[in-house]
Symmetry: C2
Subunit: 227 residues, 2 copies
DNA sequence: GGTGGTAGGTTGCCAATGCAACGAAAATGG
DNA sequence: CCATTTTCGTTGCATTGGCAACCTACCACC
């Protein structure tokens, strides 16, 4: 039984949920919490939009994407899920909520599904690692929340220029001039909910005006517009 | 000691954090968790942008607003906090995170500040109500998360018409035609990050085109545009 | 080296929408 | 019940940005 989890120990170790937990303790927890292993072929649906989920998932192998269908029927990318990422966590932790996205495996994948109840309820052995895991999870919730929150800052700016500057500020590391974004242009445009060509145009304009400089996905803010 | 909390029992009772907990048990919890009462005059700052907070707050009296300063120095409203609302919860539950907003009392107010550590750590008495409170809080986290998530759906629509329709769908209750929004026009425009007059214009247009009907903040979707 | 594919810059066009200003209607306060 | 304030709709104007089409540079693969 424990064997199957061992194969994926690397994924578990990089999962923020298990920060500060030894590999052996992780294995103990997985057994104690009655986690299940599910496997998916490339293209297979892991969770459908509208479905109700009571287990949190950890992607232990492969890659997946959360797609959202808008009212016009267009599908667009809501999130990428890589090895070691947690998914469906806030969904399972909520009360009887429908999944707002469809999660699809983009490679052959495996996921570890952990019943939310067994995360929440202390196991009989009262293992104190259990507490740390819950605490880690809650921190992950907080991070996900503030990630959305800061995206909203970008989205509520009324002009492309302001959206870009807000985005750059968000990714600026203290003391560093270079800002490296984790997007290509199309990803950046999607994140900001604007047209790719309009973004390109505006970036050029901002470079001409001397507000920013950039090369591929590395940016520098030259001129503080305001504070 | 317990006296001071009694004055605010109504606020605690409507706080989702204490769902299913009796008033007496709430009082026990507040003492056990070393909660503190803080009072603020109208206009006083409760939390400053950039501050780090380790206690979650419950507004037990008055009213407050979370204001955000954008890069141009404009302040805008990020959230309203009424009696019985929890605030700074995801902030305190995160790790060492700076508050992204400034919280200001808009009336003379009182807040109960509960150290996050004492929510997370089981008290020595191992009171099982403690678990329910934590579970309630996590559900509240989930709700706040999905609230943001669905706002992003509205914000990422490229046209005002789509933003409006997405918003209406979000507030539509199953089986009811009338959709009542908790905004005035200006609030609605802010939520959707568009100009108020542009919203008014578009609403009129949509009424003319027979897509929706409305009266004040009550709306009806007449024509399904798509699915 | 050639070839096909992809990412990203450019541009023209025009509809969408931000902005400002105004007026009407409704709500509030005395 | 009147006066004041607030909310909401309307409109003209200038700007913005979505869309489509095209081009270039770069990369991978043969």
């Amino acid at each position: 039984m424990q064997r199957k989890w061992k194969n994926f120990s690397q994924s578990f170790e990089k999962c923020p949920m298990f920060n500060g937990i030894s590999t052996d303790e992780i294995m103990d927890f997985l057994i104690c919490s009655k986690a299940e292993l599910k496997q998916y072929s490339k293209g297979e649906i892991i969770i459908s939009q509208g479905e109700k989920i009571t287990s949190i998932g950890i992607l232990v192998e492969g890659k997946a994407e959360a797609m959202k269908i808008d009212p016009h029927g267009n599908a667009y990318l809501a999130a990428q899920i890589s090895e070691g990422n947690i998914f469906a966590d806030l969904l399972a932790a909520g009360e009887d909520r429908e999944c707002p996205v469809t999660v699809i495996a983009t490679k052959d994948s495996a996921a570890c599904m952990i019943p939310w109840k067994s995360v929440l309820i202390r196991c009989e052995k009262n293992c104190h690692k259990h507490n740390i895991i819950l605490e880690n999870l809650i921190k992950a919730f907080s991070n996900k929340f503030f990630e959305l929150f800061s995206r909203i800052d970008c989205l509520t700016a009324r002009k492309v220029e302001d959206k870009v500057l807000t985005l750059l500020e968000k990714y600026r590391k203290d003391g560093e001039d270079k800002i490296k974004l984790p997007f290509d242009r199309e990803g950046m445009a999607n994140y900001l909910a604007i047209d790719r060509s309009a973004l390109s145009r505006e970036l050029s304009r901002m470079k001409d005006k001397g507000i920013i400089d950039y090369n591929k996905n590395e940016f520098v803010i030259l001129k503080k517009v305001n504070i």
